[in-house]
Amino acid sequence: MARNPLRPITIVADVALTLSMLATVPFLTLRIIGGLNAQTICVHDPSYGTDGNGLPGIERGPGVSVYVVGVRLCDDSASTAQNLLDLLSHVTGVVFALGSAYLLWRLVRFATTRGAYTPQVVRAMRLLGWWLVVGSVLAPVTVGLAEQALRASMVGDAVWYPPEFPVAMLITGFGLLTFARIMRIGTRMAEDLEGLV
């Protein structure tokens, strides 16, 4: 008997969704419920650096220099706007990851229950592809803007740092969009074969 071709991705999708739910749902709940009235809000600022040669506890070898890059800015009397920005900077990536895991699980479920070469699978694959492409750009930009705004609210001369885009995720998204087109052709061929005697 032929092995189920969907078996490897089924396991990955189930595990990814389960772990994502376990890790993110409590986090999201806590952040959204209790995240808007935190007194202290902190943000990383990589623009500051200093000589760290005098730091205690670091035994430097000959010719080795120590630099401290980045500081942590904290506001002990955070406003609601700062709370919102902090929430946005933390929740965006989590929502993107959770959404990706769900859309992958949904795609695999359609392929398992309705067959791999079906219009539902093509649509689910295209949706996941677009989610990854758009999310790979939007999520880092959103986080970058929120952190930038937070830094600007704490120090006057906050420097803008361009976000790092997850290139692998972006390529995966475009790959899925391409495969969705190939699958659409395959789906039509499968439909034709059903009527071939």
Binding site: D192, E194, G195, L196, V197
Partner: protein, 78 residues
């Protein structure tokens, strides 16, 4: 598949008449041709989208007929 995507054709299949003339059942023909009952039924009811030359060959062999006896073009009435 949506109705709009169903390919229209004007080919009539005369499997019923040939079976009657040969005194043969659909199951017997399916067995001798080597296709499933379901597929032969799809062909008989005009729901097939295409037929393999190998299937047509076997059908003609078993039914002792020509492809034209099995399939005819029937132009739609104007």
């Amino acid at each position: 598949m949506s109705p709009a995507e169903v390919e229209h054709h004007a080919i009539a299949v005369h499997l019923d008449e040939l079976l009657k003339a040969r005194g043969m059942t659909l199951a017997e023909l399916a067995d001798r041709v080597g296709v499933t009952n379901v597929n032969l039924s799809i062909l008989k009811n005009g729901r097939a989208k295409a037929i393999r030359f190998s299937t047509l060959t076997k059908l003609c062999e078993v039914l002792e007929c020509q492809p034209g006896d099995l399939l005819t073009y029937e132009p739609p009435a104007l």
